[in-house]
Symmetry: C2
């Protein structure tokens, strides 16, 4: 039997997916499961995007430009300008999801053995992209006590070595829901400039901010011109997760030139999904207003519901649609499996994502879960009720 | 200015794309260019595929399964069975193009510094995927004199080291058009088994075989169960290059399990394009018969046309839609630029792909070009006429 690569063996399994076999078994037993574990919104995709695909007039489904449709990039630059992100079409490479943009970014700035500092907990797939790229993630811990705010800047500085190539943030954060303030972004910019390293910001949840808070992009800082790389995606903004359209954005011409070589090797991003994404740019503000209102309601239900459960601690999210909750259990991995394998309330149960997979420091976040509030109000309320009963039963 | 990675700097530029600026300048001067340089067919995409996308009834464009639609994989397995490739849906991972399948394969079987042996000339983007994966390509030369047949098996054995993880072939071959015989595939199978290494076969041109020759897949050899990894794509089969749908296929469960971890990290392949690809499986045999007839005509025009030019040597392709031609010039890179920058015949010129980019041995293939026969007959005839005049003028 020929050998699998060491890289392949060490590729992490998704912490969200590893419960799937248990969920499948529960479904076979007739259980209904409230899925609090995944970030797949139930929000409808804008009609403009879906119709543009219905009305396509393609005869030969040919390769598109490796950087994506010129027309789409031009309109996308217009969208960014409205968001105080002054970029032109040639600062943008359209990618197959934010996923590919992250892979291109890592390949462009880091070699095998190089280091990228990331506040943890962080989006679990960063682990996968880092492993695939041979890059070492150096975590800097943020805590539930501070709502997962930016760790003190000296904590970052302690970790910087000659192999540090970048700091990577997710803003607003998955899984924390934390929205960095302008002051926090300024602090990160200063440290990136001082040490001449990249600042990579995953801003796919830009639209999802609550309580009147506004998102501040690393791309809005002129001094960071050569140091800032933004990752973006249409997945969450337009509830188009299946489109797999994202982009890498930078003012640094060398970054764009290099990322383009990775883009050319894989030829082009998918055509129909670019058509959908370009049309989605016409989505009226009212769509987002409705979505934000809906998510605000859901967040409020979830947070107050969780706070009403004895022993549960939760960080109130200001953005995205996740929160991290600390549960009165020693091991949420065991608890999450138990919820699917043994527990039910009137034949219903809930699925949560154990948070340990969002940390790279071993034995961290063991009593935490990530909860996504992508369910309708009534379902969220019921899910919290189930969780409450389950915690009581589990702890007896 | 922060530093670009060594990997990023060494990422090769596509040999096909690097002439693009010269072509753009020529177009600005009003030149018409016959593009013999790219493998973008002009053949129409099957209506079934295009209509399936027009008729979609999606409301939420959600993530699909990381391995691709279960329904699509099941039907795809049915297609393979018809081609004497006995696989089931769980032997298949749907990828974003053959490109991603190649990246997953390299990540699954090779670590940084590991080696993959590839007969050269080979598809230029293998260089890009290898660089991105940190893998070293070890070329074994095939020659125009033998029509680019499989090099003697002892030439492979000489190159095998403890770091050799696989032999990678493209069958039928891009850029050579060579179709490996069953005997050649058997020889490769034996060497893979003897040295316990993988045999990876890129079979995206499976349908395109001429003169009654048939394709023989590595997947048809039962003994190669654990050693064979097939790469495939809908791009050429259905003239759906823009779909970016491919797949990785293997009977080796460890390979599938590991490649799935790479697949899960990037979440899923694009949804609309999977709908198109699933519908494309209904394409009637008559479509392929027409396409093969058309390509056979084009190939015959191209090959006899090239053979009629003094000093041109050409390997007759048995598959795919490319050939390698040796021209009576010292440096086809210079010649290809000259065609775009200086030459024209009644304001028309041709664009060819210098072949050096398809070799990894330095200073090889310098007097060769790759020509794709993806143009209509009349245009191919005209292109050959232009090339003939151009070669005469260039050599004066």
């Amino acid at each position: 039997m020929p050998k699998i690569s060491a890289k392949g063996i060490s590729m992490p399994e998704s912490p969200i997916r590893k419960l799937v076999p248990f969920a499948e078994a529960a479904i076979k037993k007739g259980r209904q499961i409230y899925q609090l574990n995944i970030g797949q919104p139930d929000i409808k995709t804008p009609e403009s995007a879906l119709n543009a695909v219905r009305n396509h007039n393609i005869e030969v489904l040919a390769y598109s430009h490796s950087a994506g449709f010129e027309g789409y990039r031009t309109k996308l630059a217009g969208y960014y300008k409205q968001k105080d992100i002054p970029v032109e079409s040639d600062n943008i490479i359209i990618t197959t999801g934010g996923s590919e943009a992250l892979l291109f970014a890592m390949g462009t700035i880091a070699d095998a053995g190089d280091e990228v500092i990331i506040p943890e907990p962080f989006y679990a797939n960063y682990n996968g992209f880092a492993t695939a790229s041979g890059v070492n993630i150096i975590p800097v811990e943020s805590t539930i006590e501070t709502n997962f705010a930016l760790p003190p800047i000296q904590e970052f500085e302690k970790l910087i070595t000659p192999r540090t190539k970048a700091i990577l943030i997710c803003n607003p954060g998955n899984p924390t829901g934390y929205l960095y303030t302008k002051e926090e972004i300024d602090q990160l910019a200063k440290i990136a400039l001082k040490h001449d390293i990249f600042l990579v910001s995953d801003e796919v949840y830009r639209e999802f901010t609550y309580d009147g808070a506004t998102h501040f992009s690393i791309m809005s800082i002129p001094e960071l011109k050569d140091h800032a790389i933004m990752i973006d995606s249409v997945s969450k903004r337009y509830s188009m997760c299946g489109a797999r359209i994202g982009c890498l954005v930078s003012h640094n011409k060398e970054v764009i030139h290099t990322a383009m070589k990775f883009a050319q090797a894989r030829l082009s991003p998918p055509t129909f999904e670019q058509i959908a994404s370009e049309a989605a740019l016409e989505t009226p503000q009212s769509y987002f207003d409705d979505v934000i209102e809906e998510y605000t309601t859901r967040r409020n239900i979830l947070i107050s519901g969780l706070q009403s459960i004895e022993g549960v601690k939760v960080a109130t999210p200001k953005g995205a649609f996740y929160c991290i909750a600390e549960l009165p259990v020693a091991d949420t991995d065991d608890f999450a499996k138990w919820l699917l394998e043994e527990f039910h309330l009137d034949n219903e149960t809930v699925m949560v994502a154990p948070a340990a997979g969002f940390y790279s420091t071993p034995n961290t976040g063991l009593n935490q879960v990530r909860i996504a509030y992508v369910l309708k109000k009534e379902n969220l309320e019921r899910a919290i009720e189930i969780l409450k009963v389950a915690l009581k039963e589990y702890n007896q």
